[in-house]
């Protein structure tokens, strides 16, 4: 009955953790998972993925899901 929460890059450093496992009870959307795990308000530019797919903060999540939070991506090259 748990949800995995992952953080990357600057938000991983800021929160001081890269992964968290939270109880799924009372968690209905990605933003709920953030609120329970991170303990600070969700920054407006934070990107969200649910099960490795981009999602909005209000995307429903359920037991067993993996929710990730990360800043804008900077892959590839400019």
């Amino acid at each position: 009955m748990s949800i995995t929460v992952r953080y990357f890059a600057s938000i991983r450093e800021k929160l001081g953790k890269e992964q968290d496992t939270i109880d799924s009870k009372g968690i209905t959307c990605a933003a709920d998972a953030w609120n329970r795990s991170a303990g600070i308000p969700l920054p407006p530019n934070m990107l969200v993925a649910v099960n490795m797919e981009y999602a909005r903060p209000d995307q429903p999540v359920r037991d067993g899901d993996e929710v990730a939070f990360f800043p804008p991506v900077t892959g590839g090259t400019r």
Partner: protein
């Protein structure tokens, strides 16, 4: 179609040579190969760059790269696609990314190659941290 995520330096021209040699059925069927290679520069936003760490969300990266490669093959008549992306510790002049597209004609090869690098750049879950004389910094916004 091949996708490689590598934590060590690679030579894009050798990888292309190897990939092409491993596809004998391609010989004679393609008239056009378009390639893009992104390489780490030794300067960015006014500072010398001594090294870069490329962090990524491995399973999501793999999924994303597979999807965009399939999308490119659905949108344009291309014969083959090779995508290579580094992660981990990089030095200036290290290749970061390589996109190679084989097609019958050059319009398709260029269009698919450009689409793939743009998708990698704007959607693939990679984050750059540069080491400059002023310390480490996350590259959170890039100008094109």
């Amino acid at each position: 179609m091949k996708i490689l995520l590598l934590d060590r330096a690679f030579d894009p021209w050798q990888e292309i040579t190897r990939h092409q040699a491993g596809q004998p059925a391609l010989a004679g069927k393609f008239g056009a190969t378009a390639v893009f290679v992104g390489t780490l520069r030794d300067f960015n936003q006014g500072d010398a760059v001594q090294a870069m760490t490329l962090e990524h969300y491995a399973p999501m990266t793999q999924k994303h790269l597979e999807r965009v490669a399939h999308e490119a093959q659905a949108r344009w008549p291309v014969e083959d696609v090779l995508l290579i992306h580094r992660y981990g510790e990089l030095r200036p002049n290290d290749p970061i990314v390589c996109v190679a597209v084989w097609a019958a004609h050059r319009d398709s090869a260029f269009a698919a190659c450009r689409y793939l690098i743009d998708e990698l750049k704007t959607r693939a879950p990679f984050w750059k941290q540069e080491l400059t004389p002023r310390g480490r910094r996350w590259v959170e916004q890039e100008k094109d």
